[in-house]
Amino acid sequence: MPDIFVAPNENLKTKTEDLHKRVPEDNTSLENLNLEKEEDKAIELEPVEVQNEMIRQPSKEEKLNIHTSLDSTNSYSNSSVPLFTSYWRNPKGVYFETQEPNEDIIIFLRKHFLTNFNWLASVIILLIIPIVVFSLITYFRYSMNFLPTGFIEVFTATYYLFIISYGFNRFLDWYYNIALITKERIFDVELSNLVSKTVVATKLSLVQDVKNKQTGTMRSLFNYGDVLIQTAGAQDNFLMHAVPKPESVVDIVENLIGKRNREEENV
């Protein structure tokens, strides 16, 4: 429950307790008497305000904020983004170039970590191959005298350097392909082959429809899928590939669009 609904009661309690404790030592002084009266007036007025606040129901907007804050605190006590995460609510330590001061990030999204399985497996296999080959050569006592001196060392070092850097580059490819949903906008960064990068952002007011697509056994099993955000006019549509909890992402975006529509209707 937010502080606004709890604090007045506590304030009232403490103030009334203070009042009972406090007994003026010298009641004969007129100044003290006047001050006492003013304080009494103030204390008498406060309960009315408190009652009004207690009666007042939280608005839909407040409910949404309460919902998001509760959700985030319950599920993730520490909201700083871990290294290999691909879905994080209310992240800390993440900022983007054009972020405005009051523009809080609601979700941080990346491709599910399982999408890295293919390249991770191939890198591991390629790292093992030379070990297997050299152990076979030593086992069968195959002579490598025909090779120039130092050739094997140089080739092996180059091979390992290439494989490890390939793995690193694929990791960067995954690490820098992110999508951020803020209270105002949707922000998408795509880094393809580490050479070309695309940064797209659109306002939530321009979002028309949100869909999710979850096909395949792996996607159903590990709960990840594509989220398509359709925007109005000539704006590009957003396709977030293989993001975790796509239904939750759709819900949040729909809530944000709904909230914005309600605000526009109220204006």
Binding site: L147, G150, F151, V154, T158, Y175, I178, V189, L194, K197
Partner: protein, 85 residues
């Protein structure tokens, strides 16, 4: 025609290019290309930090990329010292 090419040392060069010397040349070219590519990636990492700041600092990623470049340079120097027939 052949005399002309011979004067340009193209034929002599192709005759002197054995299998291992060809491999050495290919390795040198590959390593030079690799170094250039890693430098581009290092620049990309720096530029990505300007777009989105994430908890894992780009300095660490840049350091890894730089270590690849240093390793590639060392291997390149070692490759030049190889004696091939």
């Amino acid at each position: 025609m052949f005399n002309f090419l011979g004067n340009l040392n193209i034929i002599n060069l192709s005759r002197s290019l054995t299998f291992f010397s060809f491999l050495k040349l290919a390795l040198i070219l590959f390593l030079i290309g690799f170094i250039i590519f890693q430098i581009i990636i290092s620049k990309q990492i720096s530029s990505m930090e300007k777009i989105v700041i994430q908890p894992m600092s780009s300095a660490i990623l840049n350091l890894i990329s730089l270590s690849f470049i240093i390793l590639a340079v060392l291997i390149l120097i070692f490759t030049f010292t190889l004696h091939v027939k």
